[in-house]
Amino acid sequence: MATKQKKMTTAVEKKLIGLADVVITAAERAKDPTIAIPIRALSNVSFNERKGLIEMGCKKQARSFFNVGMAKKFMQTMLVADALSELQRADLTTSLREIYYRTKHTIADSHENTFDTQDESDPVIEDLEVSLAALREELHVRAENSGSIVGPVVFGDDGDRVDCAKLGKGGYSVPSIVEPEYLEIRRCTADFVLLVEKGTQWNRLSEDKFWRRYNCVLLTGNGQPPRGVRRLARRLHEEHRLPVYVLVDNDPWGYYIYSVIKQGSINLAFESQRMAIPKAKFIGLSSADPERYELPRNVGIKLNEKDIARAKELMNYQWFQKPAWQAEIKRMLGSGLKYELDALANKDFQYLTKKYLPRKLKEKDWLD
């Protein structure tokens, strides 16, 4: 494993050093040093229906040094590349914020700082990820650990054996980097993965030992799941052939979280290949559920203007064009209400564990 890691680092570092070469060669030929950066926006994204993935197009923007509008960005890109290669050499991982501080300084003889806020350095890192086709983990930049897992699965993390069936109701905190070199899946006997949007509902299921009864892995990303959680779900799905079910709030944001897990996101379209789970299923909360499960109208929340606008936006996305989905969203808009998962507690504290999910699984009541 150690040798493999060594090899990886050099590959990324080579790419980073390549940026310096761009400048040097251009300077020698008296040309403007230019880096091509793929565009990360809806305009450069397409939905591959066959693969069920959002894929990044090939539109690129040129970032050149001798252009007043881009000079600073270019300089910043070089500084970040430098910092990233430093990480490679020292074999350390770091956070986005630390990179910001590491690369920030005042340019000699001026008032000007290389970076004024972290908002300037974060996109530069993403730019580098895309243009070098290197994963954030490969660049040794980690996000915060903000996901939990519990269930019959055993990991090897830095040589430690982590049995997620023996970690009480708190579970294991999913690291931001879950590539095989960092996190090994030693054993997995679960039948499926249940990815829950909210930490509160994950706690409910974990406390009720839902995973034991239904032999599943419980995962949460506390809202929009971070890369680590998405990647881990994908690995469980891919390596252990586990179906993945997604349980989210019944609102446009819940729908979008599901779609990100299934097809990938617009901003990280280049990661879809690695992250998306095209076979993931939407288990709830569906807009049909309030009626089917007799949730009273008074536990609903009125859709606000933003919700409605977002829902209409979703309906236009290529990957929401299936008739079932159009009907699902239309039904929500028609009722004018959204429902939180927590609203199920209105019937019983354990309604989710004891009634809702068992019935869903039994009836195979999910959307694709």
């Binding site: 980073l16 050093i17 940026l19 310096a20 400048v23 040097i24 300077a27 020698e28 008296a30 040309k31 403007d32 040093p33 040094f65 001798f66 007043v68 000079a71 600073k72 270019f74 300089m75 070089m78 500084l79 590349a81 430098d82 290669s85 430093e86 300084h105 005042t106 340019i107 000699a108 003889d109 001026s110 008032h111 000007e112 700082n113 290389t114 004024d116 806020t117």
Partner: protein
């Protein structure tokens, strides 16, 4: 003097009527007879009415009252001098009057003596008491002439306010010429009869050859800052650069606003009302007062823009006999005539009755009072609203003087996140004028202010938040000159929002904005070339260092740096730019009526600026002297620049008033003001 406009009498009239109509409430049992009631009815004098309603005239609080008194006195002095064709020299003196034996500091004092002295034509002795101590004396109902005196009923109201709050009479010294004797008067108003009471009347020795001096003692409050006497005088001096103004503050300071424009504004002409600007009731009154013998004669002689033929046509259309006596025209017939008048297409009123300040004078005023680096002024052509002609003028002063800019520069140092973001929080200041008189209150309801907000300053490179004033070091000047300025209320502090007026103001502001935009862009272009080179140079260092570290520190740094610098130079225009950088971005071609101040000197309407510089040093302090020295140097250094037009000889300017005076002599001795 004290040009009284018709709104005051009309409002007073209605008020008087309403008071008169207040009969005792109808009781169930008759307690008083009609005769008894009739005995209680009595006339209320205008003066009594105003005694009770002084807020209508701008005396609502002590601070504003002090300003209103100064304003009335100065307006009268200026109107009188200008009408007589004399370049005005006005001295305003504010003194604290000791109360209870102690003299309080100016900021705490409650009693002030206001003395305003002018070099005007003086007032004929017989008129003095009534001018200063009779309200509505000879006001100008139908006189359509542009004048300052739209602020109320003039000096007599101020005198009455003084009388009311301190009991002191108005003191007047007046002299109509070096050969005439100076007369000293002390007058008060008999508020019941609205008649002057003369307390003192004697001949005295006076050191001034000609002019008038008015002294009022009033209750007031002196406080600097917004809407203060100081601000009003300063703004007056901006819009009236032909006036020499000396102001002695209650704190004992003397401020001089020198005369920097040596021509009197052309005297406005009186016009007849335009049919579109007249109300039905007014027409009925005119029908009674006219000297015309027939309706058609009345129409063609009492209105402007109605020829005898047109008058006949109107009569025909209204089915009124053209030969009918105007006094016999009443009721529905008169109303038909009125409607016909309104519906007939009539030429817009003549516009020579308005005397704008003029672009040059505005520039001069702004340049004198406001330290900036760019000035411009626009006079719109005359326009008409509701039958009243008007002219809108706008001006702009932008930026800081180059020598002031260097001061706040700090040595380059690191800045933390969030630092240095609040530097451009300054908002523009709007200064508003109606007939050359500054308007200080109710800014936000004024048409001019709304037009400033409504202008998209972003188009001209000025920042502006939604619904806010534009940002930046800028003073925006707006002037409306008209025979009848439509104020929003009787306190006359804001101009009403007529579409035509708003449109003209907007057009004027846009033109100013366009010129400012041009100036800013031109300056920006020169600066950006410099900055481009500069950022590349700054960043080259960073990029080279980063590359070096990426390459493991084995890079020939100097070589790479030299190569990049070479590219930078070739990309930013090379030697040509170097030449351009030495310059400041070209002359003011395409920027009419503008002054640009740069570190090297002045460009544009240089003669105006030089005139100001020539007049200013006497009064202003060292800062101005420094500047003029610099500019002198610059002027000698750079012969190529289009400037150096010699300052206008004083004589020429002085000649003008004299000639005008002689032209006017047939009318003289003009009793001041109230005709």
């Amino acid at each position: 003097m004290a040009k009284k406009d018709s709104s005051v009498p009309s409002s007073s009239r209605s008020a008087v009527e309403s008071v008169a109509e207040k009969k005792p409430a109808a009781a169930l049992t008759q307690l008083v007879t009609a005769v008894e009631m009739g005995a209680r009815q009595r006339e209320i004098s205008v003066s009594e009415f105003f005694t009770k309603n002084r807020h209508l005239l701008g005396f609502d609080n002590p601070r504003k009252a002090l300003l209103t008194c100064v304003k009335e006195a100065v307006d009268n002095a200026l109107d009188a001098s200008e009408e007589a064709g004399i370049l005005p020299d006005v001295t305003v003196q504010l003194e604290v009057v000791p109360t209870g034996g102690t003299t309080l500091p100016a900021s705490q004092a409650t009693r002030f003596r206001i003395t305003v002295t002018d070099n005007g034509p003086g007032i004929v002795r017989q008129h003095i008491p009534r001018i200063f101590a009779k309200l509505l004396y000879g006001s100008k109902f139908h006189r359509m002439r542009m004048s300052r005196g739209q602020q109320g009923i003039g000096i007599s109201a101020a005198g009455m306010y003084g009388q009311l709050t301190t009991g002191k009479p108005v003191q007047i010294i007046s002299r109509t010429g070096p050969k005439a004797a100076a007369h000293y008067f002390e007058v008060q108003i008999d508020t019941k009869k609205n008649e002057p009471l003369v307390h003192e009347n004697k001949q005295i020795a006076w050191d001034q050859p000609q002019g008038t001096q008015v002294t009022l003692e009033v209750e007031g409050k002196y406080q600097k800052g917004r809407a203060s006497v100081d601000e009003w005088l300063e703004q007056t001096s901006i819009a009236n650069p032909h006036v020499r103004l000396i102001y002695r503050t209650p704190e004992g300071e003397t401020k001089e606003y020198p005369r920097t424009y040596h021509e009197l504004p052309p005297s406005p002409r009186e016009i007849k009302p335009h049919p579109y600007g007249i109300e039905f009731g007014m027409m009925l009154k005119m029908l009674q007062d006219t000297k015309g013998h027939s309706v058609s004669g009345f129409l063609s002689s009492d209105f402007c823009r109605i020829s005898p033929q047109l008058a006949d046509e109107i009569c025909k259309a209204a089915k009124v006999s053209p030969n009918m006596k105007p006094r016999d025209l009443k009721g529905p017939v008169a109303e038909t005539l009125y409607q016909t008048l309104q519906n007939t297409k009539i030429m817009a009123p003549p516009t020579n009755c308005i005397s704008p300040i003029g672009e040059k004078a505005i520039l001069s005023g702004l340049y004198k009072q406001i330290k900036g680096e760019f000035y411009t002024a626009v006079s719109r052509p005359p326009a008409v609203y509701r039958g009243y002609p008007f002219i809108i003028e706008a001006g702009l002063a932008y930026g800081h003087r180059p020598e002031d800019q260097t001061k706040p520069k700090q040595p380059a140092g690191p800045k933390a996140e969030g630092e240095g973001e609040d530097e451009h929080s300054e908002l523009a200041r709007v200064i508003r004028y109606a007939n050359r008189v500054p308007l200080l209150y109710q800014q936000s309801s004024c048409s001019t202010f709304k037009a400033v907000l409504g202008t998209t300053w972003k188009h001209y490179g000025i920042s502006q938040s939604r619904g806010a004033l534009p940002g930046g070091p800028m003073v925006i000047f707006v002037h409306m000159a008209s025979v009848w300025v439509p104020f929003t209320s009787e306190s006359k502090e804001a101009i009403a929002d007529y579409d035509e007026i708003q449109k003209e103001i907007t057009l004027a502001l846009r033109e100013c904005g366009r010129r400012l935009g041009l100036f800013l862009r031109r300056r920006e272009r020169a600066a950006s070339e410099f900055r481009r080179r500069n950022i590349f140079e700054l960043y080259i260092e960073e990029v080279v260092e980063a590359c070096n570290r990426l390459k493991g520190g084995k890079l020939p740094k100097e070589k790479l740096k030299a190569q990049l610098q070479k590219i930078a130079t070739s990309r930013t225009g090379g030697l040509k730019t170097d030449e351009a950088l030495g310059k400041t971005g070209g002359g003011p071609e395409g920027l009419p009526d503008s002054i640009i101040v740069t570190a090297e000197g002045i460009e544009g309407a240089v003669e105006i600026a030089q005139q100001v510089e020539a007049d200013a040093p006497k009064a202003a302090g060292a800062a101005v002297n420094d500047l003029s020295d610099k500019e002198q140097m610059a002027a000698t250094n750079q012969g190529k620049k289009q400037k150096k037009e010699p300052a206008k000889p004083e004589k020429k300017a002085k000649n003008k008033p004299v000639s005008r005076k002689s032209a006017k002599s047939e009318k003289s001795p003009a009793p001041r003001g109230k005709k």
